[in-house]
Amino acid sequence: MRVNFTVNGRQQEADDVWEGESLLYVLRERMGLPGSKNACEQGECGSCTVRLDGVPVCACLVAAGQVEGREVVTVEGLADYARHREDAHPGGGCASGACGTSLDSAKRWQARPTDGRTGEAGELAPIQQAFIDAGAVQCGFCTPGLLVAADELLENSPSPSDQDIREALSGNLCRCTGYEKILDAVRLAAARQGEAARS
Protein backbone atom coordinates (compact mmCIF):
# COMPACT_ATOMS: atom_id res chain seq x y z
CA MET A 1 0.00 0.00 0.00
CA ARG A 2 0.97 3.62 -0.35
CA VAL A 3 1.34 5.95 2.63
CA ASN A 4 1.54 9.75 2.44
CA PHE A 5 2.68 11.68 5.47
CA THR A 6 4.89 14.51 6.58
CA VAL A 7 8.31 13.80 8.00
CA ASN A 8 10.28 16.66 9.52
CA GLY A 9 8.18 19.17 7.63
CA ARG A 10 8.45 17.50 4.25
CA GLN A 11 5.72 15.68 2.44
CA GLN A 12 6.74 12.07 1.89
CA GLU A 13 5.29 9.17 0.01
CA ALA A 14 6.14 5.57 0.74
CA ASP A 15 5.22 2.92 -1.80
CA ASP A 16 4.82 -0.84 -1.53
CA VAL A 17 4.53 -0.62 2.22
CA TRP A 18 3.60 -3.96 3.76
CA GLU A 19 0.35 -3.69 5.72
CA GLY A 20 1.92 -4.92 8.95
CA GLU A 21 4.94 -2.65 8.65
CA SER A 22 5.77 -0.23 11.44
CA LEU A 23 6.38 3.49 11.12
CA LEU A 24 9.89 2.79 12.39
CA TYR A 25 10.64 0.46 9.48
CA VAL A 26 9.33 3.01 6.99
CA LEU A 27 11.49 5.76 8.49
CA ARG A 28 14.66 3.71 8.65
CA GLU A 29 14.47 1.47 5.63
CA ARG A 30 12.41 3.47 3.16
CA MET A 31 13.18 7.10 3.97
CA GLY A 32 16.82 6.77 4.91
CA LEU A 33 16.30 8.21 8.36
CA PRO A 34 18.16 5.81 10.64
CA GLY A 35 18.23 8.20 13.60
CA SER A 36 15.28 6.48 15.26
CA LYS A 37 16.77 3.25 16.54
CA ASN A 38 15.37 -0.23 16.27
CA ALA A 39 15.94 -2.21 19.42
CA CYS A 40 13.16 -3.99 21.30
CA GLU A 41 10.30 -3.67 18.79
CA GLN A 42 7.84 -3.88 21.66
CA GLY A 43 7.71 -0.38 23.10
CA GLU A 44 9.90 -1.24 26.07
CA CYS A 45 13.05 0.73 25.27
CA GLY A 46 11.96 4.03 23.74
CA SER A 47 14.91 4.20 21.35
CA CYS A 48 12.51 4.69 18.43
CA THR A 49 10.65 7.61 20.05
CA VAL A 50 9.32 10.14 17.52
CA ARG A 51 6.66 12.86 17.65
CA LEU A 52 3.41 11.91 15.95
CA ASP A 53 1.32 15.05 15.53
CA GLY A 54 3.45 16.45 18.34
CA VAL A 55 2.96 13.53 20.73
CA PRO A 56 5.90 11.29 21.68
CA VAL A 57 5.25 7.70 20.64
CA CYS A 58 7.21 4.55 19.94
CA ALA A 59 7.51 4.38 16.16
CA CYS A 60 7.79 0.59 16.35
CA LEU A 61 4.21 0.36 17.65
CA VAL A 62 2.60 2.63 15.08
CA ALA A 63 1.42 0.82 11.97
CA ALA A 64 2.65 2.61 8.87
CA GLY A 65 -0.89 2.88 7.54
CA GLN A 66 -1.92 4.76 10.66
CA VAL A 67 0.29 7.76 9.85
CA GLU A 68 -1.49 8.56 6.59
CA GLY A 69 -1.88 12.34 6.45
CA ARG A 70 -0.15 12.90 9.77
CA GLU A 71 3.01 14.70 10.88
CA VAL A 72 6.09 12.95 12.18
CA VAL A 73 9.19 14.56 13.66
CA THR A 74 12.26 12.39 14.11
CA VAL A 75 15.57 13.16 15.76
CA GLU A 76 16.88 14.24 12.37
CA GLY A 77 14.39 17.09 12.36
CA LEU A 78 14.78 17.99 16.01
CA ALA A 79 17.14 20.95 15.53
CA ASP A 80 14.84 22.58 13.00
CA TYR A 81 11.80 21.79 15.09
CA ALA A 82 13.41 23.39 18.14
CA ARG A 83 14.48 26.46 16.16
CA HIS A 84 11.01 26.89 14.80
CA ARG A 85 9.56 26.59 18.29
CA GLU A 86 12.01 29.17 19.55
CA ASP A 87 10.78 31.54 16.82
CA ALA A 88 7.16 30.91 17.75
CA HIS A 89 7.66 31.08 21.51
CA PRO A 90 10.83 33.05 22.24
CA GLY A 91 12.46 31.95 25.44
CA GLY A 92 11.42 28.36 24.94
CA GLY A 93 8.78 26.36 26.64
CA CYS A 94 5.18 27.27 26.80
CA ALA A 95 4.68 28.37 30.35
CA SER A 96 1.81 30.55 29.21
CA GLY A 97 -0.19 27.37 28.83
CA ALA A 98 -0.31 27.65 25.08
CA CYS A 99 1.77 24.53 24.82
CA GLY A 100 3.32 23.09 21.76
CA THR A 101 3.23 24.39 18.29
CA SER A 102 0.01 25.66 16.81
CA LEU A 103 -1.32 23.66 13.93
CA ASP A 104 -1.07 26.75 11.78
CA SER A 105 2.56 27.40 12.44
CA ALA A 106 3.32 23.70 12.21
CA LYS A 107 1.90 23.72 8.73
CA ARG A 108 4.02 26.70 7.72
CA TRP A 109 7.15 25.04 8.98
CA GLN A 110 9.59 23.71 6.42
CA ALA A 111 12.60 21.71 7.41
CA ARG A 112 15.84 22.59 5.76
CA PRO A 113 17.31 19.76 3.81
CA THR A 114 19.52 17.66 6.02
CA ASP A 115 21.22 14.42 5.37
CA GLY A 116 20.48 11.95 8.11
CA ARG A 117 22.99 9.45 6.77
CA THR A 118 26.13 11.48 7.13
CA GLY A 119 25.03 13.49 10.11
CA GLU A 120 26.13 16.67 8.39
CA ALA A 121 23.08 18.39 9.61
CA GLY A 122 24.77 21.46 10.93
CA GLU A 123 23.24 23.07 13.95
CA LEU A 124 22.01 21.17 16.94
CA ALA A 125 18.91 21.57 19.04
CA PRO A 126 19.61 22.94 22.53
CA ILE A 127 18.83 19.53 24.04
CA GLN A 128 21.36 17.90 21.71
CA GLN A 129 24.03 20.39 22.69
CA ALA A 130 23.23 19.83 26.36
CA PHE A 131 23.65 16.05 25.96
CA ILE A 132 27.09 16.63 24.47
CA ASP A 133 28.12 19.18 27.07
CA ALA A 134 26.94 17.03 29.98
CA GLY A 135 28.60 13.90 28.62
CA ALA A 136 25.27 12.12 28.43
CA VAL A 137 26.19 10.10 25.34
CA GLN A 138 28.11 6.86 25.62
CA CYS A 139 27.33 4.22 23.02
CA GLY A 140 24.66 6.56 21.71
CA PHE A 141 22.03 4.01 20.82
CA CYS A 142 19.41 5.28 23.25
CA THR A 143 20.28 8.93 22.62
CA PRO A 144 17.90 9.78 19.73
CA GLY A 145 14.87 8.53 21.63
CA LEU A 146 15.95 10.31 24.79
CA LEU A 147 16.47 13.54 22.86
CA VAL A 148 12.98 13.46 21.38
CA ALA A 149 11.41 12.63 24.75
CA ALA A 150 13.46 15.21 26.65
CA ASP A 151 12.78 17.91 24.07
CA GLU A 152 9.05 17.36 24.42
CA LEU A 153 9.34 17.55 28.20
CA LEU A 154 11.08 20.92 28.03
CA GLU A 155 8.54 22.18 25.52
CA ASN A 156 5.65 21.56 27.88
CA SER A 157 7.37 21.97 31.22
CA PRO A 158 10.15 24.57 31.08
CA SER A 159 11.42 24.01 34.61
CA PRO A 160 10.80 20.35 35.38
CA SER A 161 11.50 18.82 38.77
CA ASP A 162 13.78 15.79 38.96
CA GLN A 163 10.66 13.72 39.39
CA ASP A 164 9.21 15.19 36.20
CA ILE A 165 12.39 14.38 34.28
CA ARG A 166 12.51 10.82 35.58
CA GLU A 167 8.89 10.26 34.67
CA ALA A 168 9.23 11.80 31.21
CA LEU A 169 12.22 9.58 30.46
CA SER A 170 10.87 6.46 32.17
CA GLY A 171 10.10 4.88 28.80
CA ASN A 172 13.66 5.24 27.52
CA LEU A 173 16.23 2.66 28.50
CA CYS A 174 19.97 3.35 28.57
CA ARG A 175 22.28 0.44 29.35
CA CYS A 176 25.53 2.47 29.56
CA THR A 177 25.22 5.57 31.61
CA GLY A 178 23.23 4.87 34.74
CA TYR A 179 21.14 7.88 33.69
CA GLU A 180 22.84 10.44 35.93
CA LYS A 181 24.51 12.30 33.07
CA ILE A 182 21.31 12.16 31.10
CA LEU A 183 19.44 13.77 33.98
CA ASP A 184 22.26 16.36 34.16
CA ALA A 185 21.82 17.08 30.46
CA VAL A 186 18.11 17.70 30.80
CA ARG A 187 18.67 19.95 33.82
CA LEU A 188 21.32 21.83 31.84
CA ALA A 189 19.03 22.31 28.87
CA ALA A 190 16.24 23.49 31.17
CA ALA A 191 18.56 25.96 32.88
CA ARG A 192 19.82 27.35 29.56
CA GLN A 193 16.26 27.62 28.31
CA GLY A 194 15.34 29.52 31.46
CA GLU A 195 18.31 31.84 31.08
CA ALA A 196 17.43 32.53 27.48
CA ALA A 197 13.89 33.35 28.53
CA ARG A 198 15.06 35.87 31.11
CA SER A 199 17.55 37.65 28.88
Binding site: E19, Q42, G43, P56, L61, V62, A63, G171
Partner: protein, 296 residues
Protein backbone atom coordinates in the same frame (compact mmCIF):
# COMPACT_ATOMS: atom_id res chain seq x y z
CA UNK B 1 -2.63 -8.84 4.89
CA UNK B 2 -5.05 -6.03 4.19
CA UNK B 3 -5.12 -2.68 5.92
CA UNK B 4 -8.65 -1.33 6.34
CA UNK B 5 -8.94 2.38 7.03
CA UNK B 6 -12.54 3.26 7.80
CA UNK B 7 -13.17 7.00 8.04
CA UNK B 8 -16.25 6.70 10.22
CA UNK B 9 -17.68 4.44 12.89
CA UNK B 10 -20.36 3.18 10.50
CA UNK B 11 -17.68 2.21 7.99
CA UNK B 12 -15.75 0.45 10.72
CA UNK B 13 -18.80 -1.60 11.73
CA UNK B 14 -19.44 -2.48 8.10
CA UNK B 15 -15.84 -3.56 7.65
CA UNK B 16 -15.94 -5.69 10.80
CA UNK B 17 -19.19 -7.29 9.63
CA UNK B 18 -17.68 -8.11 6.27
CA UNK B 19 -14.40 -9.34 7.78
CA UNK B 20 -15.10 -10.70 11.28
CA UNK B 21 -11.49 -11.91 11.58
CA UNK B 22 -10.19 -8.36 11.15
CA UNK B 23 -8.06 -7.29 14.11
CA UNK B 24 -8.89 -3.79 15.32
CA UNK B 25 -5.84 -1.60 15.88
CA UNK B 26 -5.99 1.71 17.73
CA UNK B 27 -2.93 2.54 19.87
CA UNK B 28 -1.19 -0.53 18.48
CA UNK B 29 0.65 -1.17 21.72
CA UNK B 30 -0.52 -4.80 21.85
CA UNK B 31 -1.23 -5.59 18.20
CA UNK B 32 2.03 -4.23 16.78
CA UNK B 33 4.13 -6.19 19.28
CA UNK B 34 2.50 -9.39 18.07
CA UNK B 35 3.05 -8.45 14.44
CA UNK B 36 6.65 -7.31 14.99
CA UNK B 37 7.43 -10.63 16.65
CA UNK B 38 5.60 -12.67 14.06
CA UNK B 39 3.25 -14.04 16.67
CA UNK B 40 0.28 -12.98 14.66
CA UNK B 41 -0.43 -12.44 10.98
CA UNK B 42 -4.01 -11.22 10.84
CA UNK B 43 -5.68 -11.32 7.47
CA UNK B 44 -7.02 -7.81 8.04
CA UNK B 45 -5.95 -4.93 10.23
CA UNK B 46 -8.78 -2.54 11.01
CA UNK B 47 -7.33 0.88 11.80
CA UNK B 48 -9.52 2.89 14.17
CA UNK B 49 -7.29 5.98 14.38
CA UNK B 50 -9.27 7.97 11.85
CA UNK B 51 -12.45 7.76 13.90
CA UNK B 52 -12.10 10.87 16.03
CA UNK B 53 -15.09 10.22 18.28
CA UNK B 54 -13.35 7.18 19.79
CA UNK B 55 -10.87 9.56 21.40
CA UNK B 56 -13.56 11.70 23.03
CA UNK B 57 -15.30 11.44 26.38
CA UNK B 58 -18.46 12.89 27.88
CA UNK B 59 -19.01 13.50 31.56
CA UNK B 60 -22.68 12.93 32.35
CA UNK B 61 -24.72 13.03 35.54
CA UNK B 62 -23.84 9.54 36.71
CA UNK B 63 -21.42 8.16 34.18
CA UNK B 64 -18.44 9.05 32.12
CA UNK B 65 -18.76 7.76 28.59
CA UNK B 66 -15.14 7.12 27.79
CA UNK B 67 -14.32 6.58 24.11
CA UNK B 68 -12.46 3.32 23.48
CA UNK B 69 -9.34 5.09 22.17
CA UNK B 70 -9.00 7.89 24.73
CA UNK B 71 -5.32 7.55 25.60
CA UNK B 72 -4.28 6.82 29.17
CA UNK B 73 -2.42 10.14 29.27
CA UNK B 74 -5.73 11.99 28.74
CA UNK B 75 -7.45 9.97 31.46
CA UNK B 76 -4.65 10.90 33.86
CA UNK B 77 -4.81 14.54 32.89
CA UNK B 78 -8.52 15.20 32.54
CA UNK B 79 -10.51 12.60 34.45
CA UNK B 80 -8.82 12.33 37.82
CA UNK B 81 -11.79 13.72 39.69
CA UNK B 82 -14.43 11.62 37.94
CA UNK B 83 -12.46 8.41 37.57
CA UNK B 84 -9.75 8.48 40.25
CA UNK B 85 -9.14 4.73 40.30
CA UNK B 86 -8.78 4.50 36.55
CA UNK B 87 -6.57 7.60 36.50
CA UNK B 88 -4.24 5.99 39.02
CA UNK B 89 -4.22 2.75 37.05
CA UNK B 90 -3.52 4.71 33.85
CA UNK B 91 -0.50 6.27 35.50
CA UNK B 92 1.00 2.80 36.05
CA UNK B 93 0.69 1.85 32.38
CA UNK B 94 4.13 1.35 30.83
CA UNK B 95 5.68 4.71 29.87
CA UNK B 96 4.61 8.13 28.57
CA UNK B 97 5.06 6.97 24.98
CA UNK B 98 2.73 4.02 25.53
CA UNK B 99 0.22 6.04 27.55
CA UNK B 100 0.02 8.50 24.66
CA UNK B 101 -1.22 5.71 22.39
CA UNK B 102 -2.92 3.03 24.43
CA UNK B 103 -6.47 3.23 25.77
CA UNK B 104 -9.07 1.29 27.69
CA UNK B 105 -10.70 -0.16 24.56
CA UNK B 106 -7.50 -2.00 23.74
CA UNK B 107 -7.15 -3.29 27.28
CA UNK B 108 -10.70 -4.66 27.07
CA UNK B 109 -10.24 -6.05 23.58
CA UNK B 110 -7.06 -7.89 24.56
CA UNK B 111 -8.63 -8.90 27.89
CA UNK B 112 -5.31 -9.94 29.34
CA UNK B 113 -5.59 -10.71 33.05
CA UNK B 114 -2.62 -8.33 33.45
CA UNK B 115 -4.30 -5.34 31.78
CA UNK B 116 -3.83 -2.37 34.11
CA UNK B 117 -7.28 -0.85 33.62
CA UNK B 118 -9.31 -3.93 34.58
CA UNK B 119 -9.13 -3.78 38.41
CA UNK B 120 -10.11 -0.10 38.33
CA UNK B 121 -12.99 -0.76 35.92
CA UNK B 122 -14.29 -3.63 38.05
CA UNK B 123 -14.09 -1.57 41.24
CA UNK B 124 -15.73 1.54 39.78
CA UNK B 125 -18.39 -0.52 37.96
CA UNK B 126 -18.99 0.07 34.28
CA UNK B 127 -20.60 -1.18 31.12
CA UNK B 128 -18.85 -1.83 27.85
CA UNK B 129 -20.61 -0.33 24.83
CA UNK B 130 -20.21 -2.87 22.05
CA UNK B 131 -21.66 -2.35 18.61
CA UNK B 132 -22.05 -4.17 15.34
CA UNK B 133 -24.13 -3.60 12.25
CA UNK B 134 -26.79 -5.63 14.10
CA UNK B 135 -27.03 -3.04 16.84
CA UNK B 136 -25.62 -1.78 20.08
CA UNK B 137 -25.50 -3.40 23.51
CA UNK B 138 -24.10 -2.61 26.92
CA UNK B 139 -22.15 -5.44 28.50
CA UNK B 140 -21.80 -5.25 32.30
CA UNK B 141 -18.12 -5.42 33.22
CA UNK B 142 -18.86 -8.38 35.48
CA UNK B 143 -19.94 -10.37 32.43
CA UNK B 144 -17.23 -9.11 30.08
CA UNK B 145 -14.19 -11.25 30.90
CA UNK B 146 -14.90 -14.83 29.86
CA UNK B 147 -11.49 -16.50 29.94
CA UNK B 148 -7.77 -15.96 29.51
CA UNK B 149 -7.59 -13.23 26.89
CA UNK B 150 -11.22 -13.85 26.00
CA UNK B 151 -14.14 -11.50 26.29
CA UNK B 152 -17.86 -11.38 25.62
CA UNK B 153 -17.58 -9.63 22.24
CA UNK B 154 -19.09 -11.25 19.19
CA UNK B 155 -16.81 -11.56 16.15
CA UNK B 156 -18.56 -8.71 14.34
CA UNK B 157 -18.58 -6.35 17.33
CA UNK B 158 -16.30 -3.44 18.14
CA UNK B 159 -15.91 -1.60 21.44
CA UNK B 160 -17.07 1.97 21.05
CA UNK B 161 -16.92 3.27 24.60
CA UNK B 162 -17.04 2.37 28.26
CA UNK B 163 -19.71 3.83 30.51
CA UNK B 164 -18.01 4.16 33.88
CA UNK B 165 -19.77 5.23 37.07
CA UNK B 166 -18.44 8.55 38.30
CA UNK B 167 -16.72 8.21 41.64
CA UNK B 168 -19.03 8.85 44.59
CA UNK B 169 -16.24 8.10 47.05
CA UNK B 170 -12.51 7.52 47.27
CA UNK B 171 -10.84 5.01 44.97
CA UNK B 172 -7.37 3.53 45.02
CA UNK B 173 -5.22 1.34 42.85
CA UNK B 174 -2.10 -0.59 43.64
CA UNK B 175 0.21 -2.62 41.44
CA UNK B 176 3.21 -4.80 42.15
CA UNK B 177 6.12 -4.73 39.73
CA UNK B 178 9.89 -4.60 39.66
CA UNK B 179 10.08 -0.89 38.90
CA UNK B 180 7.85 2.13 38.71
CA UNK B 181 7.51 2.17 34.93
CA UNK B 182 7.41 -0.23 32.03
CA UNK B 183 6.24 -3.26 33.97
CA UNK B 184 3.54 -5.81 33.44
CA UNK B 185 1.77 -6.21 36.75
CA UNK B 186 2.87 -9.13 38.91
CA UNK B 187 -0.52 -8.49 40.44
CA UNK B 188 -2.75 -5.47 40.97
CA UNK B 189 -5.66 -4.42 43.16
CA UNK B 190 -8.32 -1.76 42.74
CA UNK B 191 -10.83 -0.60 45.32
CA UNK B 192 -13.71 1.87 45.19
CA UNK B 193 -15.83 3.04 48.10
CA UNK B 194 -19.40 3.79 47.08
CA UNK B 195 -20.83 5.79 50.02
CA UNK B 196 -24.11 6.40 48.17
CA UNK B 197 -24.93 2.71 48.16
CA UNK B 198 -22.74 1.95 51.17
CA UNK B 199 -20.84 -0.67 49.27
CA UNK B 200 -17.24 -1.37 48.46
CA UNK B 201 -16.19 -2.87 45.16
CA UNK B 202 -12.86 -4.39 44.25
CA UNK B 203 -10.88 -5.63 41.27
CA UNK B 204 -7.91 -7.99 41.11
CA UNK B 205 -5.49 -8.17 38.19
CA UNK B 206 -2.92 -10.79 37.19
CA UNK B 207 -3.93 -13.22 39.90
CA UNK B 208 -6.54 -15.38 38.14
CA UNK B 209 -7.29 -16.45 34.55
CA UNK B 210 -9.32 -13.27 34.14
CA UNK B 211 -9.58 -9.98 36.01
CA UNK B 212 -11.91 -10.68 38.91
CA UNK B 213 -13.68 -9.09 41.84
CA UNK B 214 -13.02 -10.28 45.38
CA UNK B 215 -16.69 -10.90 45.96
CA UNK B 216 -16.52 -12.65 49.32
CA UNK B 217 -14.22 -9.95 50.62
CA UNK B 218 -16.66 -7.29 49.39
CA UNK B 219 -19.66 -9.01 50.99
CA UNK B 220 -17.85 -9.46 54.27
CA UNK B 221 -16.69 -5.84 54.34
CA UNK B 222 -20.07 -4.43 53.32
CA UNK B 223 -21.75 -6.35 56.16
CA UNK B 224 -19.06 -5.43 58.69
CA UNK B 225 -19.18 -1.72 57.81
CA UNK B 226 -22.96 -1.72 58.01
CA UNK B 227 -23.05 -3.58 61.30
CA UNK B 228 -20.46 -1.33 62.92
CA UNK B 229 -22.11 1.84 61.62
CA UNK B 230 -18.79 2.84 60.07
CA UNK B 231 -20.30 4.75 57.16
CA UNK B 232 -22.04 7.10 59.62
CA UNK B 233 -19.57 7.30 62.47
CA UNK B 234 -16.51 7.43 60.21
CA UNK B 235 -14.44 5.53 62.72
CA UNK B 236 -11.21 3.79 61.86
CA UNK B 237 -11.93 0.32 60.53
CA UNK B 238 -11.08 -2.28 63.15
CA UNK B 239 -7.81 -4.06 62.29
CA UNK B 240 -9.49 -7.45 62.52
CA UNK B 241 -12.03 -6.39 59.87
CA UNK B 242 -9.28 -5.11 57.59
CA UNK B 243 -7.34 -8.33 58.12
CA UNK B 244 -10.31 -10.52 57.32
CA UNK B 245 -10.97 -8.43 54.19
CA UNK B 246 -7.35 -8.97 53.13
CA UNK B 247 -7.52 -12.71 53.79
CA UNK B 248 -10.70 -13.05 51.74
CA UNK B 249 -9.23 -10.97 48.89
CA UNK B 250 -6.21 -13.23 48.93
CA UNK B 251 -8.50 -16.23 48.84
CA UNK B 252 -10.30 -14.91 45.77
CA UNK B 253 -7.11 -15.30 43.74
CA UNK B 254 -6.46 -18.26 41.52
CA UNK B 255 -2.97 -17.40 40.32
CA UNK B 256 -0.23 -19.28 38.52
CA UNK B 257 3.53 -19.47 38.93
CA UNK B 258 5.29 -17.69 36.08
CA UNK B 259 8.42 -15.67 35.32
CA UNK B 260 7.01 -12.60 37.03
CA UNK B 261 6.13 -14.23 40.32
CA UNK B 262 4.84 -17.31 42.11
CA UNK B 263 1.22 -18.06 42.86
CA UNK B 264 2.01 -17.96 46.56
CA UNK B 265 3.57 -14.51 46.28
CA UNK B 266 0.64 -13.17 44.27
CA UNK B 267 -1.87 -14.38 46.85
CA UNK B 268 0.16 -12.79 49.59
CA UNK B 269 0.67 -9.50 47.75
CA UNK B 270 -3.01 -9.16 46.85
CA UNK B 271 -3.89 -9.50 50.54
CA UNK B 272 -1.40 -6.80 51.45
CA UNK B 273 -2.64 -4.47 48.71
CA UNK B 274 -6.26 -5.08 49.75
CA UNK B 275 -5.54 -4.09 53.34
CA UNK B 276 -3.46 -1.05 52.38
CA UNK B 277 -5.79 0.33 49.74
CA UNK B 278 -8.74 -0.13 52.08
CA UNK B 279 -6.83 1.89 54.67
CA UNK B 280 -5.98 4.64 52.18
CA UNK B 281 -9.50 4.99 50.82
CA UNK B 282 -11.05 4.85 54.27
CA UNK B 283 -8.73 7.59 55.50
CA UNK B 284 -9.80 9.68 52.51
CA UNK B 285 -13.44 8.99 53.31
CA UNK B 286 -12.99 9.97 56.94
CA UNK B 287 -10.91 13.00 56.06
CA UNK B 288 -12.59 16.37 56.23
CA UNK B 289 -11.83 17.12 52.60
CA UNK B 290 -13.20 13.79 51.41
CA UNK B 291 -10.85 14.31 48.49
CA UNK B 292 -11.80 12.12 45.58
CA UNK B 293 -8.79 12.66 43.43
CA UNK B 294 -6.19 9.95 43.16
CA UNK B 295 -3.02 10.65 45.04
CA UNK B 296 -0.29 9.62 42.62
Amino acid sequence: MDFLRPASWEEALAAKAEHPTAVPIAGGTDVMVEINFDHRRPEYLLDLNRIGELSEWEVGQENVRLGASVPYSSIMEHLRAELPGLALASHTVASPQIRNRGGVGGNLGTASPAGDAHPALLAADCEVEAESVRGKRLIPIDAFYTGVKRNALEPDELIRAVHIKKADGPQQYSKVGTRNAMVIAVCAFGIALHPETRTVRTGIGSAAPTPIRAREAEEFLNAALEEGGFWENGKIITPSIAQQFATLASGACNPIDDVRGTAKYRRHAVGIMARRTLGWTWEQYRGAGRALEGAA
